[in-house]
């Protein structure tokens, strides 16, 4: 009887010692052509899935994304790799301006993926690009055989075709200005509406910067300027190197000197055949909804393996505006194709 009790006890202990998910928190740099770029990996590595996040900009950063509640929630299911691109975020060095090209960023992306494979062998890597990051992901996956290294592509409100997308965004700003004028006529929105109506050449940098100054006065980024939970960055995070002042001011130079105004990857995206999820906030004034349909239609992926998910209460930042819909869409996609 004592022996039986002992066996039952051992059996109970084995069952109750269910393996806890491995929450990894790791960090490394990838140095290439004058830039040392940090990659911060956090999340559930037991899933065997790493989602490489390609941040927006150019000149944004991935470091801050690691503090957003939706991203932290996603870390419970998968490991996320937050990479700050060259001359952005917490990347270091002083890369030559001649390296500010799409080709160079694609090359950097491949080295980051090589490093992830070296450090975490046999994991399935998904690519998740937002805004400029969506364009970078599209450029990467449509180059050579690079897509063979990636399990699936999540393309969110991407700027993959600014050549056609920017004039549409100018039209969006004009509509917004006219709505404001209907509510309360004033000089500022009159100026905006008049300027947009001239159909400015959006491949000219000065026009682009003027447009951006107008765009920031609209709700192009966040639908109806709704309140969202952006998470908290505590003093401890700054002291402990997860965040630094550099991430907030770095990228300014790149943003001014990396000209992607003529970027049009729509034709190239036909080369992308891996499973893809196009995720789009329908109220986005930056990369308007037409470009979401363009991304979906341009992808060469079989219809059965690509999906367009629309976030009806979101503009450019769906992960903040509709985090639950954002999370369920990504989880469903990754589970289907991991």
């Amino acid at each position: 009887m004592r022996r039986l009790s002992f066996i039952i006890l051992i059996g109970f202990m084995v069952v109750s010692c269910k393996k806890e998910a491995t929450f990894v928190e790791d960090h490394f740099f990838v140095a290439n052509d004058g830039s040392s770029m940090p990659v911060y990996v956090r999340g559930n590595l037991d899933s065997d899935v790493i989602i490489l996040f390609l941040h927006g900009g150019p000149g944004g950063n991935a470091s801050q994304a690691s503090f957003l509640p939706a991203f932290q929630d996603l870390e419970n299911s998968y490991a996320l790799a937050y990479w700050d691109q060259r001359a952005s975020g917490l990347s270091q060095g002083n890369p030559d301006e001649s390296t500010f090209t799409v080709e160079q960023f694609v090359e950097d992306t491949d080295y980051v993926i090589q490093a992830l494979n070296k450090k975490f062998p046999n994991k399935k890597i998904f690519m998740f690009g937002h805004s400029w990051g969506g364009a970078l992901g599209s450029a990467y996956l449509s180059t050579g055989n690079y897509q063979e290294k990636i399990q699936g592509f999540i393309c969110m409100n991407s700027g993959h075709n600014l050549e056609e997308g920017l004039p549409l965004s100018v039209d969006w700003v004009e509509s917004y200005a006219n709505e404001q004028l209907a509510l309360d006529p004033n000089d500022y929105w009159t100026e905006v509406s008049t300027w947009c109506a001239t159909n400015p050449d959006m491949t000219v940098a000065d026009n682009y910067f003027k447009y951006v100054s107008y765009l920031r006065e609209t709700d192009a980024y966040r639908h109806e300027n709704q309140e969202v939970n952006t998470g908290e960055i505590g003093a401890g995070d700054i002291l402990n190197s997860r965040m630094s002042l550099a991430a907030l001011i770095n990228g300014q130079y790149l943003g001014q000197h990396f000209n992607i105004l003529k970027l049009n990857l729509s034709d190239d995206m036909e080369n992308i055949t891996i499973p893809s999820l196009v995720l789009w906030g329908i109220n986005d004034g930056v990369n308007v909804l037409e470009m979401g349909h363009d991304a979906y239609n341009s992808l060469g992926t079989d219809l059965a393996q690509k999906e367009l998910v629309l976030l009806n209460n979101s503009a450019h930042e769906g992960y903040l505006e509709e985090p639950e819909h954002f999370l369920s869409s990504i989880r469903s996609f990754v589970e289907d194709y991991k």
């Binding site: 960090h27 290439n32 040392s36 270091q92 070296k118 002291l239 550099a246």
Partner: protein, 197 residues
Amino acid sequence: MKYQQKIKFLLSLVSILVSTISIAQDESQTDRSKLAIKAGYFGEFVMHPGFYSGIDYNLLDKSWLDLHWDTDLGAYFHKWNNNSVFVQSSFGARFCTSFSMYTDLQIGIGYMLSTPSGELYQVDKDGNLTEKGKPVTSHAKPTVSLLFGWDGNRKKDIPLTIGFGLEAYWQMGYNHIALPHAALKAGITYQLKTKKS
């Protein structure tokens, strides 16, 4: 500038610092030398620690004001970010008050070398990813410091000065911008004695 050239340049600056000490010691013919040596903590908060050491050469010594020229050599360590070494030279005005207390305002220029802190994969000449070596970036380092402290030389025959305060500096040539920093500086200065003539 290649890594070895950068190291040579830094060593040259250190040589100048050492030479300055020798010259200053030769020139001083009084009991109280114009020269002092110093060391202390230099770091961005507590989690990014570092240190400095150097010399403080007195240019003018009045009852209410000291003018001094300093040269420091230091380093700091910022986990998951960068490790840096620097050499810098600054001109300072130390305003002395009662009870031997002082306020010291300094302005200077330095040179620093920084390298990423932590694991690193580097692309070699053949385009392969390797874990060997780390890139080093050189930066100019303009500085402004505001220090507060106590000067034992003033009313008591104690050859020590204790001070603390903040140093603002800019890491120039960082992704084409001048990245601002703020560092805590706290240290002690020892006034050298010289041979009587």
